[in-house]
Every structure is written in C-alpha cells, then in structure tokens.
Amino acid sequence: MLAWTIYISFLGALALFLLPSRRAAWARILALATTITTFAIALTAFIQHRTGELFTVAHYSWIPSLGIQFSLKADGISLTLLLLTGVIGVCGVLFSWNIEDRIKEFFAFYLVLLGSVYGVFLSFDLFLLFVFYEIVVIPKYFLIAIWGSTRREYAAMKLVLYSFVGSAMVLIGLIAAYVVAGSKSTSLGDLAGFPFAPHFQMWAFPLVFVGFGILAGLWPFHTWAPTGHVAAPTAASMLLAGVVMKLGAYGCLRVAMALFPLGLAPWGFQVLGLSSWRDVFAVLAVIGILYGALVALVQKDFKFVIGYSSISHMGFILLGLMTLNQIGISGAIVQMVSHGILAGLLFAVVGRMVYSRTHTRDLAELGPMRLGKVIPFAAFTFVVAGMASMGLPGFSGFMAELMIVVGVWHSYPSLIVFVALGLVAGVAYIWRAMQLAFFTGTAVDTKPSHPPLPPISFPECLGAGILICASVIVGTFPQIFLNVIHPALSSPLFQGLRKGGW
C-alpha cells in the first residue's frame, strides 16, 4: 500500500500534464487531492506499523542479470520521514494556491519531486534509491528556474550542479561497493552485511558521506542552499528545505554509515587534533551550526535569514549522526522532522505571506510597512515558528536539540560550548528578523500611498495551522516517533555501526 505514495504522485503529475482544461482551479484541486491521498497512505502505514521494524512494501525482480531489484521497504526511520514528506507535500500545495503562471506544469513538476522523495525514503535497493535520488534533481531545477525570484537561473543551475556533483560521488561509492561485493546484489541489506575491507571503507565512507552531505547542507559545501532556497518559489523552498535536504541526511545515515561503519573508526594518527572521519564531520557540523547562525544574524534579506538558519539546523542533524549513540542519532532524526516542519513554516511565512504581498524581502523596507498590524496572522505564525525554531519547550525544536545535545555531551564534551553558542545565536537571529520585519514600524503611518495588502487567505491559514500543530505534537509527544525510531536503529542494518560505537 505504501508503494502507492510513489505511484500516485507520478500518476498525478501525468494527469496534470494531460489535463485538457485551462482552468487553474482544476489543477490545484487535483494536486491537493493527490498530496492528501499520499499523506493519508503514509499516515495509515505509520499507524499500522507501530513496532518500527523493517517490513517489505514491494519486491519485484527488476534486472536479474545484475542482481538489481525493485525493492521497497520501510522501517521506523523511513516511516517518520514519509509522514513528514506527506505533511509538507500537502502544505506546499496550500501555500502555492496563488500561482497562476503555467500552473499545470508547476504542480506536475512538484508532484514528480514529491514522488521521487517518497521513492528515496522507501527504496531498500541502492540502485533504486539512487535512481529516485537523481530524479529529484530535475524538477528542482525547473521549479526554481521558471517560477523563482531573485537570480533564479543562477541559483537553479548552482543547486543542480552541486546536487549532481554530490550524487556523482555517491554513484562512485555505490558502484565500487557493488563491484567489490561481487556484483551480485545492490540490496542495501546484502551490501550492509558484506565485510568490506577497512581500507576500502576508509575512502568510500567519506566519499559517500560528503556526496549525501552536500545535499544536507554540510559546511563548506552548503553554498547552494541559501541561494537556492531564496530563489525558489514558496512551495519549492518548503520542499527543498523541508524534505530534500533530509534526503541528504537520510542518505548519510542509511547508506554511508550503514554501509561503511568502519569508515568511522580512528585512523590511528592525528591531524590537527582530529583522529577519524567522525571527528572531521563532527567539527564540520559544528562549524555549520555556528556559521549558519552567525551569517543569518547579519542578513538584510528576510529569506536569506531563513536560508542560513537551515544550514545551522542541518548542522545539528549531522552532528547528531556523528555522536554515534542512540540518543544522538534519534535526536538527529527527530530534528529532521522538526526542521522539516519549521523550515516549511518559516519559508511559507516569508515567501508566501510576506513576499508575495509586499514584493520585497529587504528587512529595512519591511519594517516601515508595520506588517505586525497589517497582516497580524503572518506575524503570529512567524512568532510561533520562531519560538519553535529557537527551541522553546513544547515545540519540536526543543526535544530534538535537547536529545542531540545530550548525545554530544556523551561523545564530544569539548564541542558542547560551541553548540551552546550556536543555540544562543539561533535565538538572536530569529529575534532580530522578527523585530525588523514585523515590529519596527513607528506608530505614525508614514506611507499611506501603499495599496492595502490582500488579507491572508484560507489555504494559508490552514497550511500554517497544520504545520504548527505538527510541531506541537512532535514537541509534546516525541514518544510517538521515538517508539518507532529505536527499534529501527537496533535492526541488523545498523549492526556494524553499533559494534563500533554505542
């Protein structure tokens, strides 16, 4: 049943392409119906599989001569992320309700993107996973280049080239692993069970990890992300920051770390105080956290603030993965969900509620418009999303970052100071952006010449409501997710990883 999330998305895209009517409403409704159906399927599956163990969704022989199978399996981790994809998918359509230009194509590309994201999360065969992972690249390009804003063609090309270089690195690692293991199977389970030689893992692990890490915003390969997010139309920013970046993190955990656990082992010598790839990536992740937060603090463009905040939050995820203890990795996965929801929400506020009304994202120009009075709902949503993003208790960000910090405390006590600094900077940039954008306007109305801004529409309220509720649910009942994540982490797939670490 879960496999239908993929098929329905692709069928929806095809239907949109073939839709004869020129009426925009039909395209919107069709897209919304498709995303809601896929979300419902993901939710049903999540409720049905409470144990979180690996189960088979679909399994067909695909290219028997090479041992490649069409194999879809899901466990607690993928179920959690599928659910996130479903939520973001629905909200993305709601926040794109105002698109008029070439709307059929817009939603067709959107659904192709969504379908292949589902595909990546479900694939258990590495070849299949890679196929979906690469399909993601193309619709991203068109969504940004056609419907984007600021320097869209540059941003789209940059994003695509970064992604493609990343997937090229992944492809090299995958082919090497496949060949070294005897060219018999590309199934993740089979390959993760194969004892690759330590020296092979030592170069294959960083290659594949960085390859996926590029998409996860790993510093210093993150530069595609802010420009890409800023240029993208709202729905694409939401998907991009919300789920596509998670594909990278998911690949890091599910492919790089599961396949080459010995790549994390110590080198046996020290360079600049670093003694393993694990140290290297942990330090890069911390740099990402601090760098993202500090750069966000000085941005003039509202959307760039959110763009850089994503780098910072993604740094937490990668750091969580590198703690190699159960609480840290679970925290990383909860942070994936949390950041997916919050980045979606923040981009929705900035891109849809503010930018498409005011046509400017310059914080200095937004201030005098007194948006806090003019569109109070936007201000309210941003305040709530900002609080969640800062990590206030009760919201998803708090739980996730708490778990990661505890994990870091166990593994890298020396890094905790920098993480704390990052958390403080996280409060500061949100505060600054909130103040400058919504609450600086003086009481005297200096510019009455402004045409009144259109009020917030119902789809926007609905989308924002869904995302806020999701964040609160994750923040107050993280157990729902942890119950399925823990069994998944103790499955045979991560056996090699457990032997090395926790």
């Binding site: 695909w62 290219i63 193309i138």
Partner: protein, 498 residues
Amino acid sequence: MNVINYGQLLQFVWPEIILTITALVVVAIDLLFFRRYGVRARFLAAATIGSAGCVAAILKLLLTSAQGSILDGIFLSNPLTHLVQVALLAITIVTLFLAVDSTFTDHVSEFALLLLLATTGMLFLVSSQDLLVIFISLELLSLSVYILAGFDKSSARSSEAALKYFLFGGMSAAFMLFGFSLLYGLSNSTNITHIASAIHSQPINPILIIAIVTTVIGFGFKIAAAPFHFWAPDVYQGAPLPSTAFIASGSKVASFFIFFQVLVLGFAGAEGSTSLLHFQTGWIPVLVVVSVISMLLGNLVAIAQSSLRRLLAYSAIAHAGYMLLAFVAHTQQSLAALLYYVVTYALATLGVLSVLSVTEKHLGNDTISDLAGLSRRTPFLSLCLAVFVLSLAGIPPLSGFFAKFLLFSALLAADPGSKLLLWLVIFAIGMSAVSLFYYLKILKKVYVADPPAEASNVTSPLLIRVIVGLLAGSVVILGCAPDLILEKVVRAIHASGL
C-alpha cells in the same frame, strides 16, 4: 587451402543481398515511375521501399539460425553479429523516414541508394574478422557517407563538410591501411585471430606499437574520438540532417563494434597493463589517453557552443570517450555494456536530430537560443527533446543513465583492485557532472525562457511526431527495463564465444 562453400555463403549474406537489390529497386522505381511527382512523394516512396527491404533483412536475420564462419572468419554469422545488424537496419529505417520531410535535394533515389549501400557496408563490416574485408567494407561505408554529407549541393557548408570529412577520412584510412600492412607483415595473415596468436608469441616490438597506434588513429577517426575529431563539428553542422543522423548513429554503432573486435581479438596479448606501478606498453595505455582527452575536450568545448548541432558533435566526442572505457576493461561484460551504451546513445542522438529537423525548418537555424520557449510552442516535441537530452546527460530512469552505470561497473569489475580503473571511473563520472551543465542549457531555453513575442505554434508533420514518439518511448523503456535487450546481448555474446 579451404574451399569456399558458396551455398553457405549465400545463406549467410542474404540480408546484404536483399539490401543491395532493394537499393537498385529504389533507384529504378523512382526514376521510372515517380519522376513527375513532388519531392515529398518521391522520398516517401523511396523510404517505404527502402525500409521494406530493411524489414525483410531484419526478418531474415531474426528467423535464421545459421551460424558459422566462412574461410576462417572472412565472413561470420552468429547471434551477436545478427543482433548488431538488426540494430543497424533499424537505425537505417529511422534515417530513411527522417528524410521524407526534407527538401535539401531532388535526387531522391540517389540519396536512398547511398544510404542503403552504406548500410550494406556496415552489415559486412560487423560480420567479418578479416582485416581486408573490414577495410573494404569500411571504405564502402565511408565513401557513401562522404557523399551523403555533401548532398545538399546548394549549401556551401555542406560541401565544406563533405570535403573536410573526405580529406580527414582519406588520411585516416591511409593510416589504418598502413597499420594493417604492418600487422600482415608481423603475422603473415589478415585474420585477426591469427594475428593475435602471432603477436602473442613474440615480445612487443616497435613495429607492433606503430601498428597499434595507426589502427587506433584509423578507427578513432570513425568514432570521432579526440584528437581525431576535427571533422565532427563541421560535418554535424554542415551535412543535411538525415545524413548527420546517419553518421552520428549507425556509423558509430558499426565502428565501435568492429573496433572492439579488432583491438580485443586482434591485439590480444598486447594489451599492456592497467596498473600504474608496473607499467607495460600496449594498446590499453593508448586508449586510456585517447579516452581521457575525448572526455575532457568534448565536455569542455561543448559548454561554449551556441549551435545545437555543434554541441551534439562535441557531446558525441565526449560519449566516444566514455565508450572507449569499455575497451580498457575488455571483458564480455564490458562488450555488453558497450553495445547497450552505443545503441541507446544512437537512439537519443537520432531523437534530438529528429526534433531538430522540425525546429530547423521553422526557425531557420539550429542555434540554441532560438529554441526559447519551445515548450509552449510544441509541448510534445519539447517533452521528447527533454527525454533525449536527459538521457544523454545520464539522468535515471532513462537509458543513458543505465548505460553509464553498466559501463562503469563493468570497468571496475574488470580488475577491482586497479587504481587506474578507479580513477578513470571517477574522472568519467565527474565529467558527466560537467556535461549536465550544457545539456541543461538546452532545456533551460526550451522550458524556462519565454517564447519570442510574435512566435506562432510550431507545427510538425505527423510522421516526425511518430518517429520522435517511438524513439522517446524506446529511450524510456530501455532505461526502465534494460533487461529487454541486455539479456539478449549477454546471451549472444556468450553464444558467439567472444
């Protein structure tokens, strides 16, 4: 001395005979009955008759199970050659129909005749293991395509292209013949398996090295590998479109196949080493150099092109570089990968050129910037163009991606421990990341840019739409279900015992 069994020979060469007779029939019918009709009607008649002949030859190939070799490899007939021949004939059919809506000439029957004769040359080419027959059939192919390239007599570009092609071709044929003569001197035989055993028994000497290099030059010209590629951009741009399509697809498939055989079978024992530490000379180092230069030059120069045809030419050079990696691996698996790659590459290139045949007629030229907004002027053709271009770029699930995956894994599997092979794979994959840039540049114009203000819809003849649709469908299907032909290829390779 063996005695030729003419009965058997006749059995084996039926497809070629059918094709030659068809070629003559096309000329006769066109000149006798169709002279008063318009060019399109004549082209349609010629294409129909010609492809009827091709279909008959394909049926003969598929139905016959005759296997064997005449006079020790002068003429071979086995499942593998049949498979390649079927592919070549299919490509010829597409090319014939591609010409139907063109207006570059009124010498319709001559055009069809040359195309069919070139195909006959290719059929002979792929089914021989004897240097003399290879050379003669290669010349039959080459002479026909030289003329095809210059067929548009009203265009100076076309004549220039033909002259350039002819001069370079003549030169490289001379090199190849020189190499062949050295091989004959070394081994006293023109049969490539005999040559291999002669080479095997003696250490590598300078004459053999010269023979290797000149042979690589000769074939390198045919497959447009750098640095023997200088003809390609001009020919791709200047030649009439159906001729370009034929040169870019059919002639490539045949040349790659026979080049692989000559090198791997004929120079067995003179491979040289794939390891950097214990360097040993042979043809592998030569091919590694040619392949790396081709990938580098093709991909980098393609970035700067503004004409779609020239871009295709440089991308062809880059793809030749990838395909040469299969030679470096020289295993059964890599031959299968090579055949899959070259056939799917030919399909995608034919597809791009078919779309181009419509847009060129409407827009008057082939510059990429003139394709602006094509997706709103002809959605179907644009979608198909996207399929072809993305397949060339190697995006899954299209066949171009699977071809690359197959090729690179075959290369690594040839010697999993080799650093050189690993670096070659890394380089090739990195280069294909570069190639995405210029392929996306085409699609950016088609999908992102706005059409010019006064633009009307681009109408395309039904025939072209059908061809393009079929090609796009096969690119997608072969990518999603590669086992459809891969399994056949692998089985054929095993059956023919290469």
